[in-house]
């Protein structure tokens, strides 16, 4: 079984400043890692994912994340945020074999301050 920890429930950031949303996972097996974004009153949209290969993964809207196996982390970053990035962000993990289900973190609400 896997678990995900998103320590920051809320992150306020000034517009055009950089941001990092933290995600740590726990698993006894190899994992795939995902970040989803949820805009107000909408469903979840896949932001980016790590499956294998390069540990630096680029996603939509200028976001990127780095897989760090030794620290069991998959932090999400953006060098300069915009008002439109205001949303809730969810980190998720799954195993790599068979019908592995997604396990989600509790989410981080990113608020951009003008």
């Amino acid at each position: 079984a896997q678990s995900v920890t998103q320590l920051d429930s809320q992150v306020p950031v000034f517009e055009e400043a950089p941001v990092e949303l933290r995600c740590n996972y726990s698993s006894s097996v190899s994992v795939y890692l995902f970040w989803y974004v949820q805009y107000p009153n909408q469903g979840l949209q896949l932001l980016l994912k790590y499956l294998s290969g390069s540990t630096l993964v680029k996603g939509i809207n200028g976001f990127e994340a780095e897989f760090n196996k030794s620290q069991t982390s998959f932090h999400l970053r953006k060098p300069s945020v915009h008002i439109s990035d205001t949303a809730e962000y969810f980190c998720a993990v799954s195993g790599t074999f068979g019908n592995e289900k997604l396990t989600f973190g509790t989410g981080t609400r990113l608020t951009i301050i003008p």
Binding site: F34, Q42, G43, L51, G107
Partner: protein, 116 residues
């Protein structure tokens, strides 16, 4: 767009009444899922299906049942709704995008359910 439609999108119901949420997909995906989203809990899996008439429980299945009589439809039923089932319910499908080595889960727009 993963071709997922949820209905109803919003519903208010009374405690003790049965409620059915419908998830409809148009792209013949084998795997379908029902999650609920609650503050402080993220998304938690209720039930999932891996084919017609093939379903299994997730981590928060108590009080819920599901049915899948057709590939395109996955129904979630609350047999007797309780206030603790007030939540946002998301349907999802699993897809293997072209050129990818692993599946990705795609979500519908959600169904907001209030039990009063």
């Amino acid at each position: 767009d993963a071709g997922i439609t949820q209905s109803p999108r919003h519903k208010v119901t009374e405690t003790g009444t049965p409620v059915t949420l419908r998830c409809h997909q148009t792209e013949n995906h084998r795997y379908m899922y029902w999650y609920r989203q609650d503050p402080g809990h993220g998304l938690r899996l209720i039930h999932y299906s891996y084919g017609v008439k093939d379903t299994d429980k997730g981590e928060v299945s108590d009080g819920y049942s599901v049915s899948r009589s057709k590939t395109e439809d996955f129904l979630l039923t609350l047999e007797s709704a309780t206030s603790s089932q007030t939540s946002v319910y998301f349907c999802a499908i699993r897809d293997l995008p072209a050129g990818q080595i692993a599946n990705t889960i795609y979500f519908g727009e959600g169904s907001w359910l209030t039990v009063v």
